[in-house]
Structure formats: C-alpha cells, structure tokens
C-alpha cells in the first residue's frame, strides 16, 4: 500500500459532495435560474450532523443500520478503483464482481431501511429502486467487461490503470461505447434525470428521495454523502475509460481525475436541463439501451 492511492481516495471523498451541487448549478444556469451554491451539500451535511433525529414508532434497528451499511459499502467499493490512475488500494482478480456486490449491499440495506417505516411512499420508492437497479446490473458488468477484454486484466486496478494507456489507441471505439454506457448508468445509479429527478417535490414521482423520506439528522447526512460518493465512483469509471492516465505522474493524474469528475457533473447537469424525466415504465428501456451500447463494445473486442 502506498500513499498515492490512499491520498487519491481522500481527495475524491473530499470533493465528492461538490459534484451534485455542480450538476444542479449547471442545470439551473442552463434553464435561466441562478441555483444553489455549488458547495451547498457541505453546508447541508454540516447542518444535518448537528441536528437531532426523528424515528417512526414502526421502525427497528434496520432503519438506523441502513444508512451506515450503505456508506460503509460505498467506501470499501472506492478502495477497489485505481483513483490515482495507476493502482488501487485493494486489487484482485474479479474484483469488479466485488465492486458491483458492494454497491448491491448498500442498496439492499437502504431499501430495507425504507421498508422498515411501513409507509406506502417508502415501499413505492424501494420497489422502483430495485426495478431500476435490476436493469442496471447487466449494463455495469458488460461495461466493465470492455476494459477487461481490452487489457486482459481481471482486476479494476489493472484494467483501468497503467495497462489501459497502451491499448487505448486500438480499443478506443469499444472503450468510448463502454464510457457512454457507464455515463447512462451514472444517471440511473445516482438518481438523476432522466431516471429520477432530485428536484421533484411530489412523493409519487420520486425514486431515491422517497426511500429516505423518514430519515433525518446524521442518518440523512450519511445517505446524502453516500450518494455523492457513488456519483464520484461512477464518474471515476467514465473518466478512467475516456482519459487513460497511466503515463502521467500521480499528482497530475489526480488533477485530471478531479477535473474529469467536474466535467461529468456538468454533463449530468446538461442532460438534466435538456430533457424531462422518463415515464417509470420507460426506464427499463433506457437501461437496456445502456446494456446494448456496452454489448456493442464487447462484440467489437470479441471479433
């Protein structure tokens, strides 16, 4: 274990809460409004941590454990990515299965925490969340199969690290398709338009927001932070695929990553400003399209 990947992880965790703010600000700017400050989420987190909590009479310890397990699993998933462009903190063959599994564990815990309230709103959100994630799962695996085949490495640290630079010239079409697919997944996994709308104020149209309707105080802070880190992780996958950073020195690779994450957040904002949320029954089609893009990328490499 070296300082490089650890430092990169700390930097990414530190800038993650700025990303949703950047996306929202971009959306506001493009639709002719001023919008909340980019750093709003930091202030929200600080406020929520200082507040007391309200629990429903119906809930059990599952309600309190949900946000904790979600953040814990997202943090461990972050150690599997080569954030400094070279190596990951923790790397082994097939660790992309662990990456997907950890995100699944976080989702499982959060969905159960929502169902623990016995509210029809939370039930509805949980049901929609698992529907969306079911269709997202094949797209994630196919998307990550592309760099796996391109580099011949079985670990995320290997396939998105140094080896990617050498094969980028030949595998660029596939990698771009995978990056497009993963960008679509980013929108779905972090509850952005066109799958979900973070700005909606009607429970019936929400997905992610409505699962956490009854969470408050530090627990809500954990959930918001976990979601921001998830955006950073998926954005990190997209950036790693599009900009191979193997040849760069560690600090420059990190700067490129942070800049790239900012661009991904701006991209999310542009998508949010330019289209409406899809009808719920169209969401599976959106995600199947993401799987199809990744499949094309895989087929190009299977030739």
């Amino acid at each position: 274990m070296t300082l490089g990947p650890l430092l990169a992880l700390i930097v990414v965790l530190a800038v993650a809460p700025a990303l949703p703010g950047l996306a929202t600000r971009t959306r506001a700017f493009l639709t002719g409004r001023r919008g909340a400050p980019i750093l709003q989420l930091y202030a929200d987190l600080a406020k929520l941590i200082r507040k007391n909590v309200v629990y429903s009479r119906t809930t059990t310890p599952v309600f309190r454990l949900g946000p904790i397990i979600t953040v814990a699993s997202v943090l461990v998933a972050a150690t599997l990515l080569p954030l400094d462009g070279h190596t990951a903190l923790l790397s082994f063959s097939g660790d992309l299965v662990a990456f997907a599994g950890l995100l699944g564990l976080g989702r499982f815990a959060l969905v159960l925490a929502g169902l623990d309230t016995g509210s029809s709103f939370e039930g509805m959100g949980a049901s929609r969340e698992v529907t969306v994630s079911t269709f997202a799962e094949p797209a994630l695996f196919l998307g990550l199969t592309v760099p796996l085949l391109a580099t011949g490495e079985f670990s995320l640290g290997g396939m998105l690290g140094d080896r990617l630079t050498g094969v980028w010239a030949t595998a660029a079409p596939s990698l771009s398709l995978a990056a497009a697919s993963l960008f679509m997944l980013t929108l779905a996994e972090t509850s952005r338009v066109p799958v979900d709308d973070p700005a909606t104020h009607l429970e019936l149209t929400m997905i992610h927001e409505v699962i956490v309707l009854d969470h408050s105080g530090p627990e809500l802070a954990l959930i918001l932070f976990g979601n921001a880190v998830k955006l950073a992780l998926f954005g990190g996958l997209v950036v790693s695929l599009l900009v191979p950073r193997g040849g760069l020195p560690g600090w420059l690779a990190l700067v490129v990553l942070v800049g790239g994450l900012g661009l991904v957040a701006v991209g999310v904002g542009v998508v949010e400003a330019s289209m409406a949320r899809l009808r719920m029954n169209r969401v599976p089609q959106f995600l199947v399209a993401a799987s199809a893009l990744a499949t094309f990328g895989v087929i190009l490499l299977l030739r």
Binding site: Y55, V97, L115, S120, A126, E137, P138, F141, L149
Partner: protein, 655 residues
C-alpha cells in the same frame, strides 16, 4: 470410508429410536437429535480429511448382493457433497424435532423422523457408492422416503397432488439413470464405476446416449428448467425442515451425479457443455423471475432453488467447455464455482427454509401478503433470515458472493479464449441480471415479512413470538457457517479447487492469480464489517442525536398510516414483472373494486398439463371403439387382417 458408513448407521439408528421410543416423546427427540448430530460429525471428519489431501479410501461388500460387489469410496468429489448432507441435514433434523412437536397429537411424527433419517442415510449412500446397483438402491430409497415426507400432511389436497407429480417425475429420473447405466454397460462386463470409466473413454453411440440420459435423469433431479415443475409444489408441501433438506441437499445429488458422470466418462462432448450452459442461463433467469411473482413463502424459496441450480449449471457448463477447449484455468474456475455454490446454497437455502418454517409455525400462514412486522416479535429469526437473504443474493461479505465470484471468474476468463468459448461472456450478463432480480426478490421478502406492520390479523396474532432454542440454534448455526465462508474464503477455495481437478482429471496448473485472491476477498469482507463498526461508533458519539424524537411515520401530514396502506409483496414486484411481460407468468384480473394476480408455472400450467389433457381426451375418443359392440370388434379384426394381407402381398411377395 467405513467411518462414513458408521455415521449413516448412527443416523438410521436415530430414526429407529424415534419410532421405538415414541411413547417417551422428549427422550426420543433428544436421542434422535443426538444420533443425527453424531452421525453427521462421523461423516464430516473423514470428508474434511479427504478434502485436505488424504488419499481416497474405499470399502467393498461382496457376497450374495445383487449386481456384484457393492463398492463405496470417499474421493474428493464424494467428500465435498458429504459436507451439505452432514452440515445441513442434522441441523434441519434438530429443527424438525421442535417444529413437529406441535403436531404430535394428530400426525405420526415418529414416522416422519424415521423417514427423515432414512433420507439422510440414503443421501450419504448416493454420494459415496461406486457401483451401479448400490447407487440405484440408495437413489430409490432417497426418492421414496422424500415422497413419503412430501405427503406427510396428506389430508391436504395440495400435498397429495404435489406428491403425485413428484413421485412420477422422480421415477422418470430413475428410469433415465437405469438407461444411462445400461448404455455404459455395453462396453464393459463389470458394474462398478471404475469399470465404466475404463470402458467408455472412446466416443461411441452408447457414450453419447449415456451423456444424454444423464442430462435428463440428473437434470430432472436437480430441477433445471424445463424439468423443474415438480419442485415448487413438492418443496412447499413438505414440512419445512424437510423442505430445507429437499431444496438444500437433495437437489445437489443431481449436480453430484452430473459431475460424477463427467469425471467417469472423460472429456464431455461440446454439445453437452453448451447444453449445461444454456440450461444454467435459462434456469437461473426464469427461476428467479418466477420466484418474484409468488405469493406463497415456501414456493418462492423453492423457485429460488431453481435459480441457484441455474447458477451451478452455468459454472459446470463453463467447466465442461473449458476442458473441451483445453483451457484448464477456465475449467477449474467453472467447476470450483459450481461445487462451492452447491455447498453455499445448501447452507443458506436450508437456513431460509428453516426460517420460513419458524414463520409458518408462529403465524399459521404461508401467504406473504398476510404477514408483516414480524422482526420485532421474532428478532433472532429475522436476523438469521436476513443473513440468509444477503448470502443468497450473492453480496459480500457472505458466502454466496464467493461462489458467484468464481463463476464470474470462469466466464471472464472464457471471454478471453480465442475459440467459440468466448461467447460464454453472455453468461456474465445473465448472472448479473439474476443478481439484480434476486436482490429485488429478497428485499421484498425481508421487507414484507419482518419489517413494517402486520398486514392481517393472524390466528393467535398476539401469540406470535420467537420459537424456542430447538429452532433458533440450528438457524443461527447455519448463519454462522454462511458468515465463516464469506469472511474466510480460504477455508473452502483450495478444497473446491481440488474437487474441480478431480472432476477434470487434469491438474489446473500452479496456483494462479485467482487462487491468490482469497485473502483480498477476506479483506473486502472485513473492511465492510470494520467500516460498519466504525461508523456505528461514530454515530453513537453524536450525543445530541442519541435521544431521538419518536413519532408516527410521515404520512404527508395526513391521518396515521394504516397497515393496509403499506406496499404489499405483489405491488412491490409489479413494476419488474410488468417489464418482463408474459414471461413472468403472473396473469392479473382487474375488477372495479378488486385486483387479483395468480402466479402460474408456465411449464406445468401451459405445456405439461395441456398436453396431458390432450392425450386424455384423445384416449377418451379411442374408448368408443371399446364400447362392447361385437360388430365393431369383428370389423377391427377384418380390417387388421386385410392390412396385413396387403402388406405381405405388396412388400414381401408372399402371396
């Protein structure tokens, strides 16, 4: 090997003791449970020694036994499949003494215990026998004792119907196996497995036939789609501790049989590997999709067994293809994933069925949508069931993840092969979809059963409480095994690899990057547990937020939420089922004030039963000839004679 047979004898004697001492119920239960546990331990010790690298041991009985000497052996493959029998079997048996205690007044509980012991002993016989007649004898004892246990609640029409379908199909399976052995016997005089292995190495019609019949016979027993339709009914109708063994252990003898045949007959043909692969994908996806639509707790779990058998077959298919295309690394990953998932599934599926048993015993219903909020009344059951759920979905840090990781590893390695093998990457997308659907299904089950509020008053609703130690301890024991394998995968990865090599009959090469991953998987698991502990500690340090305001759930500022407003299991699954359309097999009926959905089994209700009814009506029509009218019979005789005469004249020139 003789230790294992002594273990089987102890288990059988436990069953005999349960019947002989049935007057003294408590003593009989204690003795029965002790003998099951002792027998299981006697089976486990030599199995673990063999998996650790001890040479295979054998035992043989000659004399006046039919079919030559009855040979038994403990090689790595047999030893591996002894683990589920000796771990999950006694745990379910102990649970069964507490579970059936309530039925002692009106059902023959002692006989059920005896049959259960016979089932376990027969399972041990199936996975250790090395000669044809011994194998078939143990197979038939297993099938029949399982049948009698399925119809244990024989006053229920549902149990009798499920039993009938089961007993017919299990004999189709036996028949296929007899045919398979007959095909293998054409090339050799002997009747032991070693003789078959020596006689069937070269490609020939009997060898192809043997592979085909093995796929039918063992595939039926394992419950692969489309041969699965006997399974949900039988596993739902049996008493819950029996369902645990039927689903967790008995399905695995189908897997054992396929692996044994692959090991005996040498490199399997390509069509066999791709068939296993295809059956795996179809069973996996359809099994979990059909599970999602079920309203009955135990039927839902039974369909999940179909899904998990699919994952195992997928791994096995990758293994067979890896051998055929000469990629030992791919083959070792596929086979190791298949055998490890067999063990893991036996642990978590038994755990889940025992948990379902505890719920059914406490509430008296298997209908998911009538339950809710049980977590507060049965916290330990809820904890154990939750651990089983995370394990079956294949999430870290539990055991299901480790075996699915191996299968994924086989698929990813296959994708890099130059041959047609690379198209096996389709399996990775299927496995990912299966994982997503399983997460949806078990979040629904856990959420609706244990969280929220009770949905309907259950008979004796106030009396719903945690079952006694006799039911809780076996569940917690199985949950502990799930955690142990998930956090310390090195315990099982090397033995699984050894089993894979014994099936492939090729050394998989030196330990590679996949073998080196075990400690890293352990650090992922420990990392998650550590992060949860640290965050929980940090959360408890926020002094201002440890005395929460307690109020009702947010209801948009309106009246308090009633239990009937909660999302039900059906509404939870509806968007996913709608996305899959008719494939999900849950037709809906809407009226102005009511909504019904009734899950069908597409194979049984849309293919098998219509065919059966068609045959029946055809035979009804033929019956008109048998109306007792002499002139019709005479006409038939004359017509037959004319046809025969014509045939002889035209083609034989005899006239």
């Amino acid at each position: 090997m003789s230790t294992v047979l002594w273990g089987a004898a102890l288990i059988l004697s436990g069953g005999v003791a349960a019947v002989l001492l049935r007057r003294w119920a408590r003593l009989a239960d204690r003795l029965y449970a002790t003998l099951l546990l002792a027998g299981g331990a006697l089976g486990l010790v030599p199995a673990i020694e063999t998996l650790g690298g001890s040479p295979a041991s054998t035992a043989s009985f000659s004399g006046s036994l039919p079919g030559g000497p009855w040979a038994f052996a403990l090689d790595p493959l047999s030893a591996w499949f002894l683990l589920p029998i000796c771990l999950a079997g006694p745990a379910a048996g102990v649970f069964g003494t507490a579970y059936l205690a309530a039925e002692r007044g009106h059902r023959n509980v002692a006989l059920a215990h005896a049959l259960f012991a016979a089932l376990l002993a027969a399972l041990i016989g199936v996975v250790t026998s090395q000669s044809m007649i011994a194998f078939l004898a143990a197979w038939e004892v297993m099938a029949l004792s399982a049948y009698l246990l399925v119809v244990f609640e024989s006053e229920q029409l549902e149990a009798r119907r499920a039993g009938l379908i089961y007993v017919v199909l299990t004999h189709v399976s036996t028949l296929a196996l007899i045919g398979m052995f007959a095909a293998m016997s054409t090339t050799t005089e002997g009747r032991t497995f070693a003789d078959f292995a020596a006689g069937s190495q070269v490609a020939s019609t009997p060898r192809t036939l043997a592979f085909g019949l093995a796929l039918l016979g063992f595939g039926l027993k394992a419950g692969a789609v489309p041969l699965h339709f006997w399974l949900p009914g039988a596993h739902a109708a049996a008493p819950s501790h029996v369902s645990a063994v039927l689903s967790g252990v008995m399905l695995k003898v189908g897997i054992y049989g396929l692996l044994r045949i692959i090991g005996l007959l040498g490199p399997a043909p390509l069509w066999f590997g791709w068939s296993l692969f295809g059956l795996g994908v179809i069973s996996g996806v359809l099994g979990v999709l059909w599970a999602l639509g079920q309203h009955d707790l135990k039927r839902l779990l039974a369909y999940h067994s179909v899904e998990n058998i699919g994952i195992i077959l997928l791994g096995m298919g990758v293994g067979v293809l890896g051998v055929s295309y000469h990629h030992p690394v791919v083959a070792a990953l596929g086979f190791a994933g298949a055998v490890l998932h067999s063990l893991n599934h036996s642990l978590f599926k038994s755990l889940l069925f025992l948990g379902a048993g505890a719920v059914v015993r406490a509430t008296g219903t298997r209908v998911i949508d009538r339950l809710g909020g049980l977590g507060r009344r049965m916290p330990l059951t809820a904890l154990a069931f939750g651990i089983g759920s995370v394990a079956i979905v294949g999430l870290p840090p539990l055991n299901g993840f480790v075996s699915e990781w191996l299968v994924f590893g086989g698929l990813f390695s296959a994708a890099r092969a130059p041959e047609a093998l690379r198209f096996a990457i389709v399996g990775a997308a299927a496995l990912a979809l299966i994982g997503g659907l399983a997460l949806a299904c078990f979040s629904k089950l856990d959420g609706v059963l244990f969280l929220g509020q009770a949905r309907a008053p259950v008979p004796g609703g106030l009396g719903v409480r945690e079952p006694g130690a006799g039911m809780v301890v076996p569940m917690l024991g199985l949950a502990a095994a799930c955690i142990a394998i998930g956090v310390f995968p090195m315990l099982v990865l090397d033995p699984a690899r050894r089993v894979a090599e014994s099936v492939m009959q090729v050394a998989a090469g030196p330990p590679d990057e996949w073998a080196a991953a075990a400690p890293r998987i352990a650090s992922v698991a420990l990392g998650v547990l550590l992060a949860i502990a640290v965050l929980t500690w940090l959360r408890s340090r926020l002094r201002h937020a440890v005395k929460p305001v307690v109020d009702q759930t947010w209801a948009c500022g309106g009246l308090p939420l009633s239990p009937r407003m909660q999302y039900s299991a059906s509404s939870y699954a509806a968007p996913l089922l709608a996305a899959f359309g008719a494939l999900a097999g849950v037709p809906q009926a809407r009226e102005a004030t009511a909504f019904h959905s009734h899950p069908l089994d597409l194979i049984q209700d849309r293919a098998v039963l219509p065919t059966w009814r068609g045959l029946e009506s055809l035979s009804q029509r033929l019956r008109q000839w048998q109306g007792g009218r002499i002139r019709w019979y005479l006409l038939s005789v004359v017509a037959t004679l004319l046809v025969l005469l014509f045939y002889l004249m035209r083609w034989k020139g005899a006239v």
